[in-house]
Amino acid sequence: MERYSRQVLFQPIGREGQEKLGRARVLLVGCGALGSVLAEILVRAGIGRLTLADRDYVDESNLQRQSLYTEADAREGLPKAVAAVRHLREINSAVEIVERIADVNALSVASLVQEQDLILDGTDNFETRYLLNDASLKWNIPWIYGACVGSYGLCLAFLPGLTACLRCVLQQLPPPGSSPTCDTSGVVGPIVHLVAALQAAEALKILTGNLRQVNRKVVTVDVWENRVATLDLSQLNRDGRCPACGQRRFEFLEGAHEGRTQALCGRNAVQIWRSSPRPVDFKPIAERLARLGPVQYNEFLLRAHVDNLEIALFRDGRGIIRGTQNSDEAQRIYAKYIGN
């Protein structure tokens, strides 16, 4: 326990809290900027198991704020889940860390949330957050929303049955494109660390059983405009009309995506799935695409540049086409260069 002595000395955690942490199982969805900081804080704090799910790969433009990753990760084009797990194991080898190179969606979420004590939000879009909200309520697992863009961010913890849920607070999914994203408006490192630190503090409270200490307010911070504001949710009237926590209609869980593509909002990219996932052999594809432009691949991921677009292809056949937001174009490119 020497390793955790300073945390054990902190009276609200103590030896008992540390033992609870050591048994805690946490699902982190998204390991970009917030996810990097969250994963590091929790792994250093000595949780029992971290399941880390991410669908993306490390890019040079991530390094300014995504604190787990290095230039070598970007050069190798490693999936974030793989790179993160490597670094986290060096930080604390006693924590069980499970890597999932996967998109968290209505099909995959059920298996990911089983036997978890907490869901941490490191995602970059509202749709996945509404899905996590449904999963949290259905399987009675707390989750902690955090998000930031520019110099502004917010954090809020949701405890099923004890607090309002995301849909009580934000009844409608903001229309795609209506709000700025890190890819359209930028983001500065400090707000990432601040929001993730707020989330991680709530996580430690929940995992050590200090539920009464959990902040029931939305905390908003703007590190450039020098504004900190909170919104008290305790008077929010939970009258049972909320479709998610009141009526237990889990529309986002039920909406298993039927489509084969999804525009990654604000990222100028489209994600595309195969109708039946099966392992892909990168070698022949790389040889074919090398005639058209630069190609690199490793055991997890192939990246190729064709027609001013970048194709990233994962082992299970999932692709991310960067340089377009048009689903039809992405499907055409995928069919043309990867095949069906």
């Binding site: 955090g146 930031c148 934000l170 008290d232």
Partner: protein, 81 residues
Amino acid sequence: MSIKVLFFASLADLTGMRETEVDSRAHTSVASIYTKFARDFPRLEEHRASLLYAVNSEFVQPDSPVHDGDEVAFFPPVSGG
């Protein structure tokens, strides 16, 4: 007879204002204050259905009443991470 109005993040960018005041006699609800500004800054309409509304730092629904001396705040949720 005034109500203080605060705009945060992208809403402050859209309106060019972080903080302003409205006449409390002209407004009965949080939504009516928002509507007043949306007339001057039509892009505010896009955000109306997915905002966090507060009166005196307390989360409220848009139809909540407002009174002289209140502080009304509009927060956009964001999605980056």
